[in-house]
Structures are given as structure tokens and as C-alpha cells.
Symmetry: C2
Subunit: 368 residues, 2 copies
């Protein structure tokens, strides 16, 4: 393991699943929304291989929720995103870029519609609660915003459907992608959505309250022994293969949705209530954009970075933001931000890496 | 060392001083405002003893700034705090509780007045930038809010004045408490304030830009060799002795300023523009309040916690939020939240600690 020690502190919160994660031998964490988020169990490579062949339980409680509830809930959520949420069904989840009035990214949560007047925002790593509070106060909205005691547990991998069917019944497995049902566990109604931060399929169970986390974990673990269920976590190799972007690494507060390839979620004809609408209209033709990249040379460890990309004249034309060796695709796969002059697939660039200059190929598509 | 590994990630930012902190042998970090904050060098106990006898350089770049600039800058800052900032001099720093419209704590930054239309908020660990953005958009304020590339370096300890005098001149040492001057370093004007998160005295230098961090560190280190200057960091033992509260541990978003002993910063007669003013007026008589505590028994390690406090009838009457053995005061010192029924100095309570029940004495004052 590389990395430093993380001092224990309640300021960096444990989760309802932390004791089980520790029993499973977690080797490293990151901190996400002021909470522990596991990063490694066996090794990133072994976790990756297992994720793609079996089923894993992920403690993603750090995907904290903001609950927006009240007569102006719809209005507040639509203010923050250029994706038109009018068409959301009552059992639907939407991946929503959220932007400020300059049209710059603040977060990229999954919004879960509980009903017309109640939404959850399942967050990437920024305090969107504070932005919601500021807007609600400033616009005088009739809405409550707070962090509910809700902790997602992801069940991911090709055998996730089998495991969920055993525990919650076949009916739940009929849930369509980015839809949810509710299931009853120990007398609590809990949301279970077909979603998750991998390309392997599966579910996210929104644990309601902190008292049932260990029981839920144990239930799933016991039911899945012959499926080789293990503790896991979002995996850098698998998520780069699938083109799943990481807020804070691939996406920052300086980017527009168009720059990070989320233009398809910008409904600029209809989502005019988004505070960033005008700025996004003016910036809909980005001068740089995120691209999948192949990097030549020896195997790279999983890393997020800011390696400069240069063109044949030696001019800076962007940077690599995430990279790793992919065992399954047998090459170094990466995500980077590149300027318009070089973003066509097939372009060859140079990356200035800590181990020297490496040749980079701009690709059309992610791997998954 | 206890604790888990922290996975390296650019989402958890390094600082302009990180290379020097690593050279100095940092043993553990925490994550604070999406950035690395050192926690231990030799050991918490040795770091403590050295801090109280010599001088330390602290990489507190993680105290990120929000810059609020424009015609409505004063208005926006005053909206967020019940402390009347009208009287702030142009070279002054104010410790300001910041609250939402419910009068609940959002952060407890040091506000630095650069001029009438420009403030920095030197933050505790929450994204106040997002709250500022929300308010500015909602109220249509004529103001810019952003995170400038400014990274505080603290020089703390009884010999801090000597070190600063050598490097920046005697004139700087005349700076009064919570006032600042500007000094020139490599052609940059930098704020240097008499402030810092210890009771030992010293300064915070607001490094302007990221390119001069190592040079500034080296300059101070070289000039202070015979003063036994070392790398250090905010120290749990020293800060509990001094009654310096930690946001996220002792203070949370559920507390009013009155509950956490910051009533003296609530100017409810004049700071009527604070959005939380009405709520604070209604809640100015708290039913619980933070107190210094002495805990009986064997030496406790430095810890933040949620140990339940019970009265003689076994009823829950609060909790311990921070505790440690103090070598200098030769007892276990602590900070806790206790209900009105038991907050008088001299009251004896029980704390439910992981090592059993311990007797607790409610104190009048902190130790420092």
C-alpha cells in the first residue's frame, strides 16, 4: 500500500456498515462528504477481477443525501440542473449535472424522486446541502432541505440480480435501470434502485436509519456465500473502463457540463428555470472536452492526476485526469481533458508523466 | 499509530507545503476542505510539548479561503453571521460564527477584512463557498465569491515572534492580536496576521499563489534552526487545554452559537441583517451548552467522540465530544455538551467510555 495514515476522528464519520467493512479487511479509505469511503480490500486489481465475475457489497454511505421536500422542491431542484426533470416518474432516478449561475459544475448527483414534492440528491463529494440552503433562503422558497439519516449500500456485479432475488424476491429484480421500488426490512420501508457506480449491474439499497446496517449487510452476505459475495468498493480500473467520471478528479467546479461530456443532460430548450441556463446557452460549444485516452508504455498503477498533454509542437493542449492499467483490455486506459484542436479520435499526443514522456492516443469510446 | 490508510487522490488536494511536510516525516493526516491537513509528526504528545516550548510551522493550507468581493460583500458576510462586522477595521480579523436561517452553525471561520468591499473567510471544514454562492444567486447580490489560490502557513509557539522578527522584521511583530499587516515575499504581497489555532501565540501567513510555498517554508526553517523550529500541526491536547473548538466534533450543524459558547459573538441588538437573527433571538437561552470537563481514571488517548454523559439517576444529559490526557495539567481534560440541569461547575456526572464508566467533573474554565 502507498499512502499516509488517516487519523480517526468523528469529524470524518463512520457509517452504519463500518464494523463489517473492517471485519472484511478494508486496507484503505478515502474521505467523501465528511465520511469514510472504502477504497481497497484485497488489492485494486483483485477487487476489480472479482467485481466483474461475482457480486460485491459496497459501503457507499458516503454518497450522502440531501432531502428537498415541500411545495417548492421541484422548483429548487430544477434551478440547479440543466436536465429537464419535468418528465421524471415517481419511481425514477436521474443522473443530473448540477451547476451554478455560471453554468459550472457543483456536483453530479443521482436525483431520486420520492414524489412531486420530495427529492433526494445522492451526492458526489461537495456540500450541496449548503448550496440548497443558500438558494432556499435567497429565493424565499417554501422548502425544507436537510441531510436525512439515509446510507446507500450498493450490491454490484454480474450476480447482483441473483443475490437480490434471494433476499428481496424476484419482483424487485424486475426493476428497470434507474428506477426503484421499496422493500421492507425489519419493519422499515427502504428504497432499492437499479443503479450504482459500476458497469457490472446491480442495485443500491438506501438504508433508512443507522440501526439496521449490520443486519442488512449480514443478511446479504449470508445469502450470497455460494455466489462468492465479498466486500468491495467503487473500483478505479472498472470505472475508467466504463467512462464513469469522478467529481473532484475528472470533473471540477471549473468545468461546464459540455466540457465533461454531459451535454446530453442539458435540455436547454426546456430547462430554462436552471440558474445556469443563460451561461450554458452561451457556452454550449466547448473549446475543450473530456476524452478516453490510451497511454503507451509499461503498466500504470491506478491514479488520478494532472499530467500535462502536449501536441507535436510541444504546446500544452490538456491533461490526463485518471489513468490505470486495464488487465482485461491489456493497455493503459485513461480519461483526460483535451482542447478542440486535438480531440478527434486517432490524434496522437504526449503525456508528461512522472516516469517520463509517453505517447497518448485519443479514443472515440470508453472500453466497458 | 492507529488508523487506516488514506488512498492518494487529487480529489484530496496536496498543498504548496506538502513536499516539506513529507520531508519532515508527517505520520498521519486528516482531510479538511477536500485537502490534506497534517495531524502527527513525532507523536501527539511530543508535538504538544515542543509546541509549548519552541516554534512550529503548520501547513494549514486546508483552512481554505472564500473570497467575497464586490459592492455587496459586506452585506453577504453580515447575512451569515450574528457578529456585527460594522466595526471591523481594515486590518482586522474577526472570529465569526456563521449560521443558517435557523440560527444553526454552518462554519466558524476567521473573517479577514481586506477592504470594505473585500473579505476572506478562512474556513473550518465545510463548503461555505456553496452557501455564499446560493445566497448571492438567491438575493441577486452584486458580489463575486470564489476560492482564491491562498494557503495559510501558521507559525505557532512561544518563539514565533522571534522567528517572524528575523524573517520579516520587528515591525511585523508589533501587529496586535487578530490584526494583520502585509509583507513582501519574492515580489508577492502577503497577509500576515497575529492569529492561529493554538494558545501559544504566533502568526498565520496567507501564501498568495502556490509557487512560493516551499521557498517560504525553507526561509522560515533556515532562520529558526537555533530556535528549534519544527514542522507541527494543530494539536488536540493543546487545543482542548485552550478551549479551542473543532467544527465537526465539538460544533455541528445542529448547534446554535449559544449552545457552543459563542454567545459573546452574537450581537443581536445590531446584527439584525443576519439571516438567523430571528431564530437566534428566540433561542438565546439554550437548554444545553458546551463545557470543559475533567474525566477521572487512567490516561486517555487524544480522541474526539460521542460518549454519553449520565446523571446520578442514569439519565442521559449530554455527551463528551473531545478528550485527552494533558501531561501539563496531569488529568484527563475534555469538552462536552451538557444540559442545563447539570451544567453548573462542580457537578459530577458519569461518562460511558469504551473502557467503562468514568466519573466526570463539570468545570468553570478551560485550562490553557
Amino acid at each position: 500500500m502507498t499512502g499516509a495514515y488517516l487519523t480517526p476522528s468523528i469529524r470524518i464519520r463512520r457509517t452504519p456498515f463500518s464494523s463489517r467493512v473492517e471485519q472484511a479487511g478494508v486496507k484503505a479509505y478515502t474521505v467523501y462528504n465528511h465520511m469514510l469511503l472504502p477504497q481497497v480490500f484485497e488489492s485494486i486489481e483483485e477487487d476489480y477481477a472479482h467485481l466483474k465475475r461475482a457480486v460485491q457489497l459496497w459501503d457507499v454511505a458516503a454518497e450522502r443525501q440531501v432531502e428537498v421536500v415541500g411545495p417548492d422542491a421541484f422548483r429548487l431542484v430544477q434551478m440547479m440542473t440543466p436536465r429537464d426533470i419535468t418528465s421524471m416518474a415517481d419511481d425514477q432516478c436521474f443522473y443530473v449535472p448540477m451547476v451554478d449561475e455560471r453554468g459550472r459544475m457543483l456536483n453530479d448527483p443521482v436525483a431520486i424522486k420520492r414524489n412531486r414534492n420530495r427529492y433526494w440528491l445522492s451526492l458526489a463529494d461537495t456540500d450541496m446541502l449548503y448550496y440548497c440552503k443558500g438558494l432556499a433562503a435567497g429565493f424565499g422558497l417554501d422548502v425544507q432541505v436537510f441531510e436525512p439519516d439515509v446510507s446507500p449500500l450498493a450490491v454490484q456485479g454480474p450476480k447482483a440480480d441473483q443475490l437480490i432475488a434471494r433476499v428481496f424476491g424476484e419482483e424487485v429484480v424486475t426493476t428497470r435501470f434507474f428506477r426503484y421500488q421499496t422493500v421492507s426490512f425489519q419493519g422499515h420501508e427502504m428504497v432499492i434502485a437499479r443503479s450504482g457506480w459500476s458497469h457490472q449491474g446491480g442495485f443500491e439499497i438506501y438504508l433508512d436509519g443507522s440501526d439496521y446496517g449490520e443486519a442488512l449487510w449480514d443478511l446479504l452476505f449470508d445469502a450470497g456465500r455460494d455466489l462468492d459475495v465479498r466486500a468491495g468498493c467503487p473500483n478505479t480500473i472498472e470505472r475508467i473502463e466504463a467512462g464513469l467520471l469522478s467529481f473532484g478528479s475528472d470533473i471540477t467546479i471549473e468545468h461546464t457540463p459540455f466540457e465533461v461530456g454531459l451535454g446530453k443532460y442539458c435540455d436547454l430548450d426546456t430547462a430554462t428555470a436552471c440558474l445556469g441556463h443563460k451561461a450554458l446557452l452561451e457556452n454550449r460549444e466547448p473549446e475543450r472536452q473530456i476524452r478516453p485516452l490510451t497511454i503507451a508504455g509499461d503498466a500504470l498503477p491506478p491514479i488520478d492526476c494532472r499530467w500535462s498533454l502536449t501536441n507535436s509542437d510541444g504546446e500544452s493542449v490538456g491533461y490526463v485526469s485518471s489513468a490505470t492499467w486495464s488487465p482485461d483490455f491489456a493497455e493503459n486506459i485513461a480519461i483526460g481533458m483535451v482542447s478542440q484542436t486535438v480531440w478527434n479520435a486517432g490524434t496522437i499526443l504526449d503525456a508528461q508523466t512522472p516516469t517520463g514522456v509517453r505517447s497518448v492516443l485519443v479514443r472515440e469510446k470508453y472500453w466497458n
